[in-house]
């Protein structure tokens, strides 16, 4: 069974703290994504990676960075957390070149609260 695991389900951080969100997939997928989920706004893409050490900005990259040192692991970094980054963060992965399939496999999410 395919699996995307986000290490932290719930986090509470203070403004200005550095935050790491970790994601691991066991499907040997090339593509990995970080989305942010907010009520009424759906899922918005923060960053994605199509290969190790490669990264591309999504729609809302400001205030975030990412790291992909290994194929199976994709980390989201908040260098200095702010209250407007309180949200649900979803990691996803997919096969490269899946054509019209393009299925994303999501983790269960990390709910971050910044005080």
């Amino acid at each position: 069974d395919v699996k995307v695991t986000q290490s932290s389900r719930y986090l509470v951080k203070r403004t200005g703290e550095k935050v790491f969100l970790e994601c691991v997939q066991d499907m040997d997928h090339e593509n990995m994504f970080w989305y942010r989920q907010d009520p009424g706004l759906g899922l918005r893409l923060i960053y994605f990676s199509y290969d190790v050490k490669m990264k591309e900005k999504g729609d809302i990259p400001e205030g975030y960075s990412v790291s992909r040192e290994k194929k199976e692991r994709f980390s989201l970094i908040l260098e200095s957390a702010s209250t407007n980054q309180t949200s649900m963060y979803l990691c996803a992965s997919s096969l490269a070149g899946t054509g019209y399939t393009g299925e994303l496999f999501f983790g269960e999410g990390s709910r971050l609260t910044v005080l």
Binding site: G40, G42, L43, F48, Y100, G102, L104, F105, E108
Partner: protein
Amino acid sequence: QQQVKQSPQSLIVQKGGISIINCAYENTAFDYFPWYQQFPGKGPALLIAIRPDVSEKKEGRFTISFNKSAKQFSLHIMDSQPGDSATYFCAASMDAGNMLTFGGGTRLMVKP
């Protein structure tokens, strides 16, 4: 700027009824339209998807209707069940790639 607009934001349907969720898009280059289903505490999962060369796709009780000229597509859930209670997201992408643009989501509640 939301390129895929989804309505309604929330929907309550009686068991056995038809649930209808609508999406409209602006970018005519979009050529892949999936729907994702998300249960509480879980990540979204692909439910059903359609390409613009067909006007309808049915999988069990779930049907996507697609209107290319109107740039709209919708999800119909027939004989809705309490187990269908979830948040549904429409999405669109272009060039058959993985870069999906999601709608705002619809929280569906099916009452017993």
